[in-house]
Symmetry: D2
Subunit: 404 residues, 4 copies
């Protein structure tokens, strides 16, 4: 009955279908419903106003692509049992369930030192209890302890369905059509050899294009200088709020308040069920609703940072390939002193840092090419791919933000 509505509209793939009963039930769970309230791209919508899509929709999209991949591989006579297919579906569905709101900013301020994958695993473990162990295989695949290694590569590698969907989805909603990738084409060229996920040789140029699209999305969207400015503003704002919370009962929505007043480590998350339950209530609405209240508050630093965020009065950003001179930064901070802020306060307004991205790395789950003669090689070694070799160079950029 309740399972009848198994078709979900998606502007990108047309229709998303929910393939297994248990996946439908997991989607209905409050842990997963919460992802409806967490934007996939945090504050990027301040630059790309269409980028309002949620982690909920991304998870369903990645599920869709995973199901497609299973179909294609089965047609190529790769054995994937029904149990494995279901588990793979669960694993990709829940791969990002541990994300908090504004994940990057949060990890640098309120839940520092805890990686969202660890929280994802914690959520999965709790759901496994609730669902009588039916997520066990999914967890093994997620942790890469399942015997068939290629299953993990479908959901976690440099050519996984997570990236495939998020690049498509982020570029679609941001309106950056250049980030669109030919997911369907790449999936059609996937295969498995020696228990490894591989791309058939004719797919080399599509993969190259995928890597360049990803590179473009990083520098043009994810690490767009104004997005960096906004996110760092949020980090500073949350740090200030936490600082103030030490000495006063600063307003916050209940879910946020706990994390503002307590410093949480991974060990406590694992030991105290109450904490993960609290974390499961935290979403974008807690952050922004609190920011709105703080914007009218008494602390002049916090209120100004909050107003600046809400009204998109973002700091000026400079980008450079070299680290910024400390004298330059000092000079800018002094200007804040002149405006009546003290030194400690000024560091909330003038700040610098760096961002880094590699289009392709050789350490992590590499992209393997299956040559027509049966050999499996790394894509950067495939003849003529001068290009992918070049993409291995990590790129680092430095930023400097200060009030307009």
């Amino acid at each position: 009955m309740r399972n009848k509505k198994k078709i979900i509209n998606d502007p990108i793939y047309g229709f998303l279908t929910i393939p297994y009963e248990i996946i439908f039930d997991l989607i209905e769970h409050p842990y997963f419903q919460r992802l409806r309230r967490i934007k996939q791209l945090g504050l990027s919508h301040l630059v790309f106003p269409g980028a309002q899509h949620t982690r909920f929709h991304h998870a369903l999209g990645a599920l869709f692509l995973t199901i497609k991949t299973i179909e294609v591989l089965r047609q190529k006579e790769v054995e994937i049992t029904e149990e494995e297919a279901e588990a793979l579906g669960i694993a990709i569905l829940l791969h990002d369930i541990g994300h908090g709101p504004f994940s990057h900013a949060l990890e640098q301020s309120i839940v520092s030192g805890i990686h969202h994958e660890q929280i994802s695993k914690l959520f999965m473990t709790r759901l496994n209890d609730e669902f009588d162990g039916k997520l066990s295989v999914a967890i093994q695949i997620f942790e890469n302890s399942y015997p068939k290694k290629f299953l993990n590569q479908i959901i976690s590698s440099q050519l996984d369905m997570d990236r495939m969907d998020y690049l498509n989805r982020d570029s679609f909603y941001a309106g950056v059509s250049e980030g669109v990738i030919g997911a369907e084409r790449i999936i059609h060229m996937l295969n498995v050899a020696n228990d490894e996920l591989v791309v058939e040789e004719k797919g080399i140029y599509s993969v190259e294009k995928f890597l360049v699209a990803r590179r473009l999305m990083y520098w043009q969207v994810y690490l767009h200088k104004t997005v960096i400015a906004a996110e760092t503003l949020l980090v500073n704002l949350l740090k200030r709020a936490r600082e103030l919370s030490k000495t006063q009962d600063l307003y916050a929505t209940p879910a946020l308040k706990f994390f503002l007043q307590n410093e949480i480590h991974l060990i406590e998350l694992y030991q105290d069920k109450k904490i993960i339950e609290l974390f499961s209530k935290l979403d974008d609405f807690d952050i922004i609703a609190s920011v709105k209240v703080w914007s009218d508050g008494e602390d002049r630093v916090l209120s100004r940072l909050c107003q600046d965020l809400l009204n998109r009065n973002l700091p000026k950003v400079e980008i450079s390939n070299q680290e910024f001179d400390s004298s330059r930064i000092n000079k800018l901070q002094k200007e804040m002193l002149a405006k009546g802020y003290n030194f400690d306060e000024s560091s909330y307004f003038v700040f610098s840092g760096s961002v880094q991205n590699s289009a392709y790395t050789e350490d992590a789950a590499q992209i393997k090419i299956l040559k027509k003669d049966g050999r499996i090689i790394d894509i950067s070694e495939a003849s003529d791919n001068y290009n992918i070799n070049a993409l291995k160079q990590p790129v680092q950029k430095y930023y400097l933000c200060y009030p307009k």
Copy 2:
């Protein structure tokens, strides 16, 4: 300097450009930035997860189409001065600025009796003060007191740029491709005759298609039965919260609290500047953040309604062409009594009502066709349009909601 970034990405039209300095400044104003935090389609994303787009983006899109329309009309030697063009841009940009969060639900619960257009006008008046009277012509066009009547029709008629953009945008983000309309084509066929906005004869089929697309969007998206269920749930929940607020200090974010505790009428909005200022702080985040707190609260009615909304545990809905039998409703309410709720409480869970839509009406700003022989006729009279004539019939449907 700050005006440099005048190009905004839009997945639908590619790039939105900001044509006038003052429009750029209005976009930067907190009143307008607030629209970033108000979803265009309220709770529809519970059915169409992509429908997360904001009133901010819609306003920019409608502005874009209005600029296009001005270009096309000028090419056809319709006189539109620069002053009028700017004013028209301002008027369309701000046409929806009076919307509160979850506008429909709000108008039925917390700010009942006040239409969002009235609030839009109030915001415009205040902005006109701030901007030294530079919005005067825009306000005249918006109120339809400006001599050239066709200007108002561009932004407020049955074929206006508001509808043109929202149909395109809503169908795009919802993933309901059938709602897409050929805005560019229709705009190319617009003209002005006798100070009226008209469509050239060859555009008849495009307009027919536009009307049918709109009809489809109403019944398939805006009035989708699950969306109705969710919105009515929100109405009930807010009514309960307001009821409880009379006797206790119910939690609410500051902006919401005022409207929960006070019954506001249009007259007070006009007289007390503080109220419109408070209203300008109200957005989706106030509603959902409060709902989240209430979901853990003590009132069993309010907490259950809130949980049901957050976890998408929506009521069952039945749709009918006839009004539901009161005995049927009574029976369902009695089932709630059996579950321990009293009669008053049960009405929050079992409820019925009706929705209505006309694809085309003859009263309001009609769609006029300019025949090749120069005559101007109503589109429903244009020969062969049996069809549009039929679309004038209003359609009413009744719904009945109750817990699963």
Copy 3:
């Protein structure tokens, strides 16, 4: 081996896959390959330059949608055996194989009195011989003599996969985005009841939109007045060529020559294998290559008509809801006399006629709605569909063409 390449790029659906070995073999057959050389929309590209797509591509697209439909119906537990699925695939693949080049024009000039469906059946019969009877079930479905009637409705009714694909494809390539229909959505709402193909009730608005889109495509593209002018020009030109062929050895490519010099009736096509073989060699290239030669020929009527077609110097067209006055036509013809053409010749340049279309008819395979209560009704009776009722009115328009 040769069957490996079973994936074909399609800008509309992404990838077309070829589901059965025999379908792959049929595609490779010269009868079917010939469709690569026949444009789906004849001369429409003179108005819509993108409309260059072929009957080959349409047939593959309709096959794709048919396969989807089979999948959806099977999920709803409609029984379709593998043999039936294959036969249905064959039937839709070959449904248009009998089309000649510029089909409409040809049927009014060179192969008059023979409907392309009859030729399709003839081709199928011959292929059935070649393929050892493996097309027998397909032919039964095509002729609607197969017991399960709903199978025929999938490929031949007012909501069949032929229309579904051609509306999508024609509007896509023509760049008339308003003709796009939600094929995938409609397919998802198909079902079978009482051996009839039906649409589930919630699909009513999508079907309405489909009918209106089809209506728009007729009047905006297929019966666009300039397209009518071009096609009638071609009809006249071919009539003139046939007329001249009676008294001289007019140039023509070999395949065309036979049909120019002989008047063929259905009976001869059935009796003389050589004729269908000759017909199977006729394509767009014969017509246009001959027109090019004729444009430099001696007959001043034929050469001018040919030049006018090649250089898109099309006649002026007037459209009216009433038949044109014969005195008007006479007057125009007299102007041709003044230019030195005789009366007979002038009728090639001045001509009138009418075109007609019904968006929905009640005679032919109707569109049935499956109500939630299990009843099956005609869509025009479904409550609130004033609109579809209106669409039943046939629309007729008269045209008058004459030289600029």
Copy 4:
């Protein structure tokens, strides 16, 4: 009057508008109308059935992008006079007017040694005569003899509107979505500095993506191995036809016959007006209509090659990074001898060759980046573009074709 219809549907950009009277007149000229009968991608539709678009449509698309570029540059206060804008429009419109049917194949068989750009210029010169010298500035820009050098770069450089449109158009119609480029975005980032067309620094990643998309289109579409096989088949077939024409009166359509029987050099084209007139009559229909006749002819080599092309019975192709061993080729030719062909004949069926492409070259019109500090550098030197540097490596591949 006749200029009223200045809006042309385009599936890619929506609507193409014709900006100047003279451009409208040039479009109407038979030289330009002929491009309606020449496919942009020759035989690629045998692999990508949607790739039926014509050089006519591409020229209009490139014109559209050029007009956009002019708009953008003018907004950035680059001076482009109305006369220059018109001339630039003419130059891009006519840039490909010298292409014959199946241009690559033709240049290797029938009009060998003559580059299509030279013929384009010849056509322009003749049109300039007809249009009373109104194309003079356009010709100067086309030849790069006009003082403002950046104008030529807009229509002829490694980032010109020709490439911008053909990549978009070819990938769109072929259904290879990965080839889509963000033309609008790149255009928005163009500027002029020191009389050079430059890309603003922030556009680096878009340009990189453009180059990689182009590389992909080359290896995936233009040089797709089956496309190579088909085109080489056509080359061989035309060579055979020319060979036979030396000793017999081989059938051919009149326009083709001349070029089959005569070897034409550039000098004759310039000297003999009749020849360019004949060339202006040659299009796809001459080639394919003749191939159809030849397929039933007596020469067993020619007839078989023609049948193979028409029925898409293409040779088997092998691709390698090394030249193929001559012994391998000999062996394959011997197999043809065994089938009764003589040595000379067998070379029409067994053949090898190579194709080459560079994604970016440093010799020709380079892509210049305008740094924020005002410096202009080559894109491959822009910091972090390891990648574009790598793209400079030319890639060469060898192919070997032989009958299945």
